[in-house]
């Protein structure tokens, strides 16, 4: 099915390049010839499958396939997320949420939704092209990232989060795979399929959100009244992972095991450190009653090498949800003090990389690789 679409698109673009009139049998059946020519003269339309050329397949998920593509409208590289429509349930709720939320969010650190194409069996979202994502980037640079790059990525992550939280939107699925990175080092939040707009009085939400490793302890305990603190926990996990090179609470596939991992680091909370703890649905801390908190840097030794990193991580990874720092406050944390102050004046739609002196630093292993003229883990051709 997707192959057919792909072939059709390639065919159409070829026709156009050779200056032949379009004769795609389905898409323009109802348009008369005059209108077809008018359209062609005015430019290629948005919303049409023929306006994009599929290049290679990037990845395949449970309900969508992602292709790299080129827009024939402006010649830019794009990402085409082809969503299969279910015969029974129609447009997946994730697609509806993602589209209607992204329509509202315009920010340099939020992925840009260019276009939506509906065909009979599929739905294609056209996004701006980003070279890689944080998961791949970390995979290509094992052992922790350059501290300047951690600062740069983290600042952008928090900037995007501060923006969506200000709009009262929760992402609810932050993980390295959902943070896209451009070759310049721009970071953008993507995949808003689980995101939601919160309202007053606070609705209760699903506790089946966020990949287990990045899920905060309150939600693991069944809390359904979470707020922006949910995303902050996930961002805190990602922060430590970037510095340390390893996910901080990884390797589990079970809620209790996940909580154990967290208590092993943060200590077991009590009603004193976390008011309301015992009222949470899955509260049962008898088994782990003796754990005491440790310093984060005991678990993650690299945290101590970066000034103020441990303190920021500690403030983001606070078990008591209301005790977690907000994205807005985290941006003002001392950890970011080495960055130029102009960063705080950059308008929402503009990338922080436009500030002079702010740029992605080569990672240590890349330098090492170029020194040896080898190709360690992809080396310089690390992007897709």
């Amino acid at each position: 099915m997707h192959q057919d679409n792909k072939m059709g698109d390639v065919l159409c673009s070829w026709r156009c390049r050779t200056q032949r009139p379009w004769s795609h049998p389905d898409s323009f059946q109802e348009q008369n010839v005059v209108e077809r020519f008018k359209w062609q003269r005015q430019g290629i339309p948005f919303g049409a499958a023929t306006s994009y050329v599929h290049l290679e397949k990037l990845c395949e998920g449970s309900c969508a396939t992602v292709f790299k593509g080129i827009s024939r409208i402006n010649g830019q590289l794009v990402v085409l997320k082809v969503i299969r429509l279910e015969a029974e349930e129609g447009v997946p709720f994730t697609a509806i949420r993602e589209a209607s939320l992204l329509k509202r969010l315009k920010h340099a650190n939020i992925v840009l939704l260019h276009d939506i194409i509906q065909t009979k069996e599929t739905l294609t979202f056209v996004f701006e092209y980003m070279h890689t994502d944080l998961a791949q980037y970390m995979g290509q640079h094992p052992g922790g990232l350059h501290s300047c790059n951690v600062m740069l990525f983290m600042f952008q992550l928090l900037r995007g989060l501060a923006y969506i939280h200000q709009q009262h939107i929760l992402h609810r699925d932050l993980k390295p795979q959902n943070l896209l990175i451009s070759c310049l080092g721009e970071l953008k939040l993507a995949d808003f399929g689980l995101a939601c707009a919160k309202s007053i009085p606070r609705q209760t939400y699903s506790s089946e959100v966020v990949t287990l490793w990045y899920r905060p302890p309150d939600v693991l305990l069944g809390a359904t009244n979470y707020s922006s603190d949910l995303d902050i926990w996930s961002a805190g996990c990602i922060f430590v992972e970037m510095i340390q090179g390893q996910p901080i609470f990884a390797g589990t596939s079970d809620i209790h095991e996940q909580l154990e991992k967290i208590w092993a680091v943060l200590g077991v909370p009590t009603e004193d450190t976390w008011p309301g703890l015992s009222k949470l649905p899955n509260y049962n801390l008898e088994l782990a009653a003796s754990r005491r908190p440790q310093r984060l840097q005991v678990i993650c030794d690299r945290l101590s090498r970066v000034s103020a990193a441990e303190d920021l991580a500690f403030k983001m990874l606070t078990a008591f949800p209301r005790g977690r720092i907000s994205a807005q406050d985290a941006l003002l944390h001392g950890f970011f003090s080495p960055l130029p102050p102009q960063l705080y004046q950059v308008p929402a739609g503009q990338s922080v990389l436009t500030v002079p002196g702010v740029r992605l630093q080569p990672e240590i292993c890349d330098l090492f690789a170029s020194y040896r003229k080898g190709h360690l883990s992809g080396g310089s051709s690390k992007f897709w």
Binding site: E88, G90, F93, S100, K103, K120, Q166, I200, P201, Q203
Partner: protein, 400 residues
């Protein structure tokens, strides 16, 4: 609901500002002319009935009130941008609810389209509903998030509660969450009223809060002036809207009383008592299975055909609920409600209810809805292709 303290006020102001911006961006409502929706065969009463029907289905599935409001907002925006035929109105309405549920409800709560089609009694196949879903998404450019009147009611209510936490002190059994649930029902009725359609959700919500405050406290004026200013609501609009809402609520009070209790009652019947959470109707959401059971047990159109006030259950929650309202009205003896001689006392006297025989204006809705569905049946667009169908269902309104 947690009652927000003073430090919350800036957060609430931020919520309001945000909601106003969203409303300003895509607020759009259809225009009525000569008793029908401009350029269509949809009459005022059909419009009203379809909105109340969405409300009914929405509470049947125990969706949040915000989901009903979002569905209505989607419906209004669609009717404002296309010329829809009456025979498709019900299909459009149920599709709007499907979209609102997919947008606003959690995954585990969203019923299957098939179930929604069957339980709503809309006589539409899931395929038709799904085709309509895509048409609506296309027409509205996938831009569904907006600030509904319900969002504004929640915000204004939270603001009032945060400024005057003592407001409900004279009303034992009434807490902010029950209070807002009560106002929500009033708002639902106003949203079905075509005369009120011309007013923005922010205006309508503030009017409902104002009328309520007028009854609760002599000091309502400064509170409302402050909110009017914060919400930048046009005072002429506000006064006009207030008069209309006042009339509407006076007329609707009896049927309103019936309407209020039905969903809650069913919810309580459907849920094991032990699982009832502490905080009122917002907590009455349980697993989908329970919802399904609720839906199966109750024929959908029953509340519309019933003229008798419901006999309350023995459940504590229900009693609290009734008592809350009774106190509310008793305290306000000669107020707006009793002015028409229709003081709702749905519970008074337990079994032998001295309630006046209720003649809700929307009583005949069930019959009309069924008739509407029947007239739409012969068209049967089941085999048509989506695009073809779209061309037939909706003709573009170029003026809008």
């Amino acid at each position: 609901m947690k009652c927000p303290g003073p430090p919350e006020s800036s957060r609430l102001a931020c919520f309001l500002e945000n909601a106003l911006a969203r409303e300003a961006r895509i607020w759009k409502v259809p225009v009525f002319q000569n008793l029908t929706l401009k350029g269509t065969d949809i009459s005022l009463s059909c419009y009203k009935k379809v909105v109340l029907w969405i409300a009914e289905i929405s509470s049947r599935f125990q969706f949040y009130p915000e989901t009903f409001a979002l569905a209505t907002s989607i419906l209004n925006r669609l009717l404002a941008s296309v010329k829809a035929q009456l025979k498709y109105l019900q299909c459009i309405a149920i599709s709007c609810l499907v979209l609102a549920a997919k947008t606003n409800e959690e995954d585990e709560v969203i019923p299957s389209v098939k179930m929604l089609a069957v339980q709503s009694g809309c006589k539409r196949s899931p395929a038709e509903i799904l085709r309509m879903e895509r048409i609506i998404l296309d027409k509205l450019h996938w831009d569904l998030y907006t600030a509904t009147p319900m969002d504004f009611l929640d915000i204004f209510h939270a603001m009032v509660m945060s400024n005057c936490p003592h407001l409900l002190h004279g009303l034992p059994q009434m807490n902010p969450s029950r209070h807002v649930a009560f106002l929500t029902k009033q708002l639902q009725h106003c949203m079905a009223c075509h005369q009120l359609l011309q007013f923005k959700g922010s205006t309508l919500a503030l009017v409902i809060i104002t009328l309520e405050l007028e009854r609760l406290t002599p000091d309502w004026f400064p509170v409302i002036t402050d909110l009017l200013k914060k919400a930048q609501i046009n005072s002429t609009d506000f006064i006009h809207c207030k008069e209309l809402v006042d009339q509407e609520l006076m007329r609707l009070q009896p049927s309103n009383a019936v309407y209020i209790f039905c969903p809650t009652r069913h919810a309580i019947q459907g849920c094991p008592k032990a699982r009832l959470p502490y905080h009122g109707p917002l907590g009455l959401r349980n697993s989908l299975q329970e919802r399904v059971r609720v839906a199966v047990n109750q024929p959908v159109l029953a509340p519309f055909t019933s003229t008798a006030a419901p006999v309350p259950d023995e459940t504590v929650e229900t009693d609290d609920y009734y008592d809350g309202f009774r106190h509310l009205y008793r305290e306000e003896g000669g107020g707006r409600v009793s002015a028409g001689g229709l003081c709702p006392q749905p519970r008074a006297g337990g079994g032998s209810s001295p309630c006046p025989p209720l003649q809700p204006p929307d009583r005949d809705w069930g019959r009309v809805a069924a008739a509407g569905a029947a007239t739409a049946e012969p068209v049967g667009p089941g085999e048509q292709s989506g695009r073809h169908n779209r061309a037939k269902v909706l003709s573009e309104d170029n003026d809008v």
